[in-house]
Symmetry: C2
Subunit: 229 residues, 2 copies
DNA sequence: CCAAAAGTGTTTATGATACACCCATGT
DNA sequence: ACATGGGTGTATCATAAACACTTTTGG
């Protein structure tokens, strides 16, 4: 092999911080480690990068292997590489993050992990490695991103009410939002389609169901529209 | 060594996209490669991560070795790791970026590189590896960051006039800015100190010189002030 | 006295915020 | 009929944008 490198190399892993939402608030998907080190400890799902796959492919593969979750839109978060972050030696990890619908995606314990479960982001268990820091960085990123991009739709069922959407934003932004102003802004963004359906089985007036129009959103995004909420 | 990893490992490098500014506009610092592959080709400065240094330390070290530049504030940009981005085999690179004053920092050709030089960001030479893409991502990041954080001060001499600052923002944002509105906004941010000095040797009324008050800026940033320009 | 950039306020337009009541449905 | 959340409009305030002339200095 011409010009091959022959240095000692750090090991390379990927980790996936997956946020979800249920009635109680914002959740994060963790796995219980089946092997050493930190056996039995909760951790962010992830694992080693194979030589022939891209970083994102690796993240996607590990996520599915460990939690059963697939087809989420992963975004690169940050690369953590301080010496000493792994007791076994030098390990650099490229962290990804994503949003998903908790209820629509029941997680299963899978091959590499004892079990997987959702935890409140505000009150996570003790985490392996420097994963508490990774989670913190991901949570910051989510909070900052939600302000200027309509990321939240990924956290809701496909069809949702405006009140659900508002609750979501109130959780993410951690402040109450005025109902009329919120609806005005959201409808002005022009990225929701009215499904024509309404909520079922509620003990009050049924709310209209909307759906996020990703196509339209990407169109508007390219044309420079501002999606600040 | 307990629990040691024994997988094939990608090689790990760091790269530093350094932006500067001179009379002609926005510049980027490149080195001419002294070895294969891409010998003689221009590239973003960078190199291998040692086993005992952090990623940022590695970036800082490589930057100084190859260009003589030190003490810049590096920020992590993105990690590029597609298989095939390096002809020698699997190489993952963690890219950093920074802003610096071109004139205050004459670059020298250094050990690992034939030579270093500044190039117009809009018209770079053909670059090694996927460095054209890396530069593109860095440029996007700069443009998006400059909108809500006063990053630009790093590109100017320590003492500068409001017109210089405005020119800088016009270059970065690529649009003309109204002089009175710009001055109003900038002075309202309350992060400039009047040095009491004025420009020397200009063939017109001498402008006042200001200095960026980083201490004050970080204070305000923590207290949640918005620095949108 | 001319050229060249520095410096300075006010008006207008736009978008953000605050705010309260009636409606539809299930029990 | 009542409890529960769904749905709607307007007035006010704050911030952003548009805009033109006088001042200083060196040549």
């Amino acid at each position: 092999m011409p010009y091959s490198y022959d240095y000692p190399r750090p090991a390379l892993t990927v980790d996936c911080v997956i946020f979800g939402l249920d009635e109680d608030g914002l959740k994060v998907l963790l796995i219980k480690r089946g092997g050493e080190p930190f056996r039995g400890c909760w951790a962010i799902p992830g694992g080693f990068v194979d030589m022939d796959e891209s970083l994102e492919q690796a993240a996607r593969r590990e996520l599915e292997e460990e939690t059963g979750l697939k087809s989420v839109y992963l975004e690169q978060l940050y690369t953590f590489g301080d010496p000493g972050r792994d007791p076994r030696g030098r390990v650099v990890t490229v962290a990804y993050w994503a949003l998903t619908r908790v209820l629509a995606e029941p997680v299963r314990a899978a091959s590499d992990a004892d079990s997987a479960a959702w935890f409140a982001v505000d009150d996570p268990p003790k985490l392996a490695f420097d994963h508490a820091r990774v989670l913190e960085v991901a949570h910051e990123r989510l909070r900052s991103k939600v302000r200027y991009q309509p990321v939240g739709f990924e956290l809701l069922p496909r069809d949702f009410t405006l009140s659900q959407l508002q609750q979501l934003y109130e959780i993410l932004l951690d402040r109450p939002i005025d109902k009329r102003n919120f609806r005005k802004r959201v409808m002005d963004l022009d990225v929701l389609v009215d499904t024509g359906e309404v909520q079922q089985d509620v003990a009050h007036r049924a709310a209209k169901l909307y759906r996020f129009d990703r196509r339209r959103y990407e169109q508007l995004l390219r044309s420079g529209v501002n999606f600040e909420i």
